[in-house]
């Protein structure tokens, strides 16, 4: 059976496609070294247009108007620029109501695309541009430690990692977020209160890595400007021991959070990355595999959610679960040496 894979790796090589959702301008070049917040490409995702009724403004019939339009399609304009006229004894003119670009002109009308801040696509990780996708973005390669999450609020940032979690079942409280943590990335356990996120934003933190979070906080977390990456899921869940060990041993290292939203069709998932130099060849991790004995697996839902174990045997046929459902299953030896039988659908390979 095909097995999903989540990566928690102390050293790996990764390549990430950073692409605009629509065509835009690519601002980097091949071979360029990037920081996580460098802009790879930009575009106008939500353009705003203004349609000027020039004929009305000049008091003319449509057929008479176009000869008085003074600016060309494609021209950039500033607010207040004269676009058409003057006409008649009153020297009527039509001025640009905003800065922008003329998209269309004719039949007595001018369509302006208002100048706005473009959407900027950040690199999301430190690394080197290994190839360009014209008009869309670039492929960035990097080496270092990687831990993948399951939910992100769509933001990106980097900073020094500070570990607030002492054991895998940690719960984050407001009083843990003191001023010393300002401008750092915090790794903590479960977050169940809006006030915690509020405080994180006010300090401000540069990012938050949580084992889990109450799902009721999703709207609030999405509005934060700092990235929030959740490693396990929603509700009170411990962090898996691999991610826990990786991150607590990286305390005070520079870390990048790309809290992009999970989109499996677009091969996107939130992740935290610690850039590390390498002196030897490191390969990219594989993303898909088949379940087989000896694999390190993570349990992705109750019971034993977030626990790590070793796949001992794949059970032939279907096994009956405690609730009566029949499913393809495996015997797993958890880290505490207890052996349990779980459906393969509730496991993923961790490597």
């Amino acid at each position: 059976m095909l097995a999903p894979v989540t990566h928690v790796l102390p050293m790996t090589r990764i390549r990430r496609h950073r692409l605009l959702p629509v065509t835009g301008r690519v601002l980097v070049r091949k071979g360029q070294t990037l920081d996580p917040l460098d802009v790879v490409a930009e575009t106008m995702l939500e353009p705003k247009h203004i349609l000027l009724d020039v004929a009305r403004g000049l008091g003319l019939r449509i057929a008479e108007t176009d000869q008085y339009i003074e600016r060309q399609v494609g021209e950039s304009i500033s607010e207040g620029d004269v676009l058409a006229g003057p006409v008649g004894w009153g020297k009527r003119i039509v001025r640009a109501p905003c800065s922008g670009k003329i998209i269309l002109a004719g039949r007595g009308k001018i369509l302006i695309e208002e100048e706005k801040e473009p959407y900027q696509l950040f690199a999301g990780l430190p690394g080197e541009v290994v190839s360009l996708m014209p008009g869309r973005g670039a492929v960035i390669e990097s080496t270092g430690a990687l831990a993948q999450g399951v939910w992100g609020n769509g933001k990106i940032n980097s900073g020094q990692l500070r570990v607030l979690i002492k054991k895998v079942e940690g719960i984050l409280t407001v009083d843990q977020l003191d001023i010393d943590l300002r401008e750092t990335v915090v790794f903590a356990g479960y977050c169940g209160e809006e006030q915690i996120l509020q405080t994180a934003a006010e300090l401000p933190l540069r990012g938050l890595i949580l084992s889990s979070m109450a799902s009721s906080l999703i709207p609030f977390a999405e509005d934060l400007s700092l990235p929030v990456v959740i490693l396990e899921g929603f509700g009170l869940l411990p962090v898996n021991s691999s991610a826990f060990n990786l991150l607590i041993t990286s305390d005070r290292r520079e870390i990048t959070l790309n809290a992009e939203k999970m989109d499996r069709y677009a091969s996107q998932r939130p992740e935290v990355f610690i850039s590390l130099p390498v002196n030897q060849m490191v390969h990219e991790p594989r993303d898909g595999t088949l379940f087989s004995p000896g694999q390190k697996v993570r349990v992705i839902r109750a019971p034993y959610q977030s626990q790590i174990g070793t796949l001992v045997t794949l059970k032939p046929g279907l096994e009956v679960l405690p609730n009566g459902i029949k499913a393809t299953s495996a015997e797993i030896e958890l880290e505490n040496r207890i052996k349990v039988k779980l459906p393969l659908a509730n496991l993923e390979v961790l490597e």
Binding site: M1, L2, V5, P21, V22, T23, L45, E46, P47, K48, H49, I50, L51, I103, L104, L111, G135, V150, W151, A214, S215, S216, I218, G233, F234, G235, M262, R264, Y265, A266, S267, Q268, R269, R286, D287, G288, I300, R301, A302, P303, L321, P322, N323, G324, I325, K326, A327, L342, P343, A345, N346
Partner: protein, 584 residues
């Protein structure tokens, strides 16, 4: 496993779902088409494979293991036609529901006329209306333009203008669409489906045809009082296929394997329900419910005419959080006979969105999973009723119309621990009225059979006549306003053996008659206290021949709608009792 008699009749159907890909083999056994076996694998439309081919190959490989029959040759191609040694197949059909729902902007004139029909058209496939643009939306032309540019739809459906009706206002809307398309890079322009006033076809073609792929279908609203969705429904299904083929690797190949006849799973499902409606009582419709990961689909067919409604927002996969948008947590809690907190349910739903193929292991989690399914079905049926024909028979306002039979499919139902568990979920969710048969498509064959019906209707007929679908029970629903505990129906049962028994059914109860599977019995129904059993009105009864399902005949006298006690202990007691009644 029985093998083909090699008369060249075998058919392989592949259905690519959001979570699972199924390969289903049908062949002739002893002169009739039969369902032979099914191979299932994970769908690989998403990362890391991003190509549905891997999942299809594995599903077929699994099928080969089960049947011992070679289906794919050494060149990795299907062996087609079959060989004398029994390898290969003779026909192939495909259906697909995997993929994010199409993002659609519906454009029309009036909200409750052409826009309503356009939205109904969109709801016949895996698509979601992300915005509507109409005459009364108070948007300036440039705002319409920005709406289209910002939302980046996959498809724009334009309706409006009855036949020989409005033209200028429709053209103004078409101009907005054209302008937006002209400002987009060619490869990112949405396809357009024009299904409005047919007089405008050539003008729309001249304005949009050079800008983007423009599709045309007959008017969905030819008259103010006339809605005509079916012809455009065929076109929107084709558009879905073409968009999937262009964006989802592997779909193009599957379409080629299918002789360019790959269809949306929902369309295939609707086709089989439509077919059943020609076979069953024409005075009642046939209802089909497919509660899947990608969407919940409701198909209601009357005498060969099907009304299809697909609700990606009520799918139990990646879109499961859509259920939270118009349901309260209480809507789920009411179906759960255990102590479960509101936060736990909300967290559960969001975790399910992350891991839609994961399985509940504990009884509590199973109850939540089934509560989600109940709510998804209830919401979907409620929304789908807007598209049901007018004047159909029902027991009362707000109640489900009469159907015979009701066919249900979807893993959450077919993988339930027992038939009784499936039936109770269905009764709670569908809340049928009158007398009906609840049928479970236990091997998820409806869509493959619907796809097969296009090239081999005999196969679909003969497989449907076999025992591929499981009759759960004949369900009789007496409806009454009396207090719980009041007798509302007197029943006299005459078994095939000639034995007779009589008893009263009380309001608020769920009872089962142990009539063996496939065995007929005659029931004399005498409504009490003017209860309505769907035999001509309140208080009217009569004699009816019924056939036992796997759970016999069930009398659901719990009332409509089913109101469950808020008190957890009482709810637990009731569920325990009902499940016990239905065999556990």
């Amino acid at each position: 496993m029985e093998q083909s008699n090699q008369t060249g009749n075998s058919l392989l159907a592949v259905d690519v779902g959001e979570v699972h890909t199924r390969a289903v083999l049908f062949d002739v056994v002893e002169g009739r088409y039969r369902f032979l076996a099914i191979g299932t694998a994970k769908t690989t439309a998403q990362a890391p494979y991003n190509h549905i081919g891997e999942g299809i190959n594995r599903a077929i490989l699994r099928l080969e293991e089960i049947t011992g029959r070679e289906l794919v040759g050494g060149d990795d191609r299907l062996i087609l036609p079959s060989n004398l040694d029994g390898s290969g197949i003779d026909m192939f059909v495909g259906s697909i529901s995997a993929g994010p729902p199409l993002r659609v902007i519906a454009v029309g004139l009036l909200d409750d006329i052409s826009l309503a029909s356009a939205k109904r058209l969109v709801s016949t496939t895996y698509a979601q209306v992300v915005e509507t643009l109409g005459l009364n939306d108070r948007k300036k032309p440039e705002e319409r333009l920005d709406t289209i540019l910002s939302l980046r739809p996959d498809l724009i459906v334009i309706a409006g203008g009855t036949e020989n009706g409005a033209t200028n206002s429709v053209i103004r809307l078409v101009e907005s669409v054209g302008l937006a398309c002209s400002l987009m890079p060619a490869e990112q322009r949405p396809e357009v489906l024009f299904s409005g006033n047919q007089m405008l076809k050539s003008e729309v073609e001249s304005r949009l045809g050079t800008l983007t792929k423009s599709n045309f279908a007959p008017n969905v609203r030819p008259g103010l009082e006339v809605e005509q969705i079916a012809p455009a429904q065929v076109m929107i299904a084709e558009i879905l296929r073409s968009i999937r083929a262009s964006r989802m690797p592997g779909v193009g190949e599957l379409n080629e394997w299918s002789g360019m006849q790959l269809i949306p799973t929902a369309t295939a499902f609707g086709r089989i329900i439509q077919f059943l409606s020609k076979v069953y009582d024409p005075t009642k419709g046939v209802l089909g419910i497919d509660v899947g990961a990608s969407a919940t689909t409701v198909a209601a067919a009357y005498d060969g005419e099907v009304s299809l409604a697909v609700f990606p927002e009520y799918g139990l996969g990646y879109g499961v959080t859509g259920l939270l948008k118009d349901s309260s947590i209480d809507d789920f809690l009411r179906w759960i006979p255990m102590e479960v907190g509101e936060d736990y349910i909300r967290d559960y739903i969001f975790n399910k969105q992350i891991y839609p193929s994961s399985l509940p292991v504990s009884k509590e989690d199973l109850a939540i999973e089934q509560a989600l399914a109940r709510q998804a079905i209830r919401k979907a049926i409620s929304a789908a009723q807007a598209g049901f024909p007018k004047g159909i028979r029902r027991s009362g306002r707000g109640m489900l119309p009469w159907f015979e039979p009701i066919v249900a499919t979807g893993s959450v139902l077919t993988q339930a621990p027992s038939p009784g568990n499936s039936l109770l979920s269905l009764l709670d969710a569908v809340q049928p009225t009158s007398i009906t048969t609840m049928v479970l498509d236990q091997s998820n064959l409806a869509a493959p059979l619907g796809a097969a019906a296009a090239i081999n209707p005999t196969l679909s007929v003969q497989v449907l006549e076999s025992s591929a679908f499981l009759s759960l029970a004949t369900v009789i629903t007496p409806i009454s306003n009396t207090r719980p505990g009041t007798p509302i129906l007197r029943l006299r049962v005459t078994y095939a053996s000639g034995d007779e028994t009589s008893f009263d059914i009380k309001q608020g109860t769920l009872e089962a008659l142990p009539i063996p599977m496939g065995e007929a019995a005659r029931l004399r129904l005498q409504p009490l206290h003017k209860s309505d059993v769907g035999m001509g009105g309140p208080g009217r009864g009569g004699s009816v021949r019924v056939v036992g399902g796997v759970l016999g005949v069930v009398i659901d006298a719990r009332g409509r709608p089913v109101l469950l006690p808020r008190d957890l202990t009482r709810r637990q007691d009731l569920y325990k009792k009902w499940l016990w009644t239905l065999g556990g």
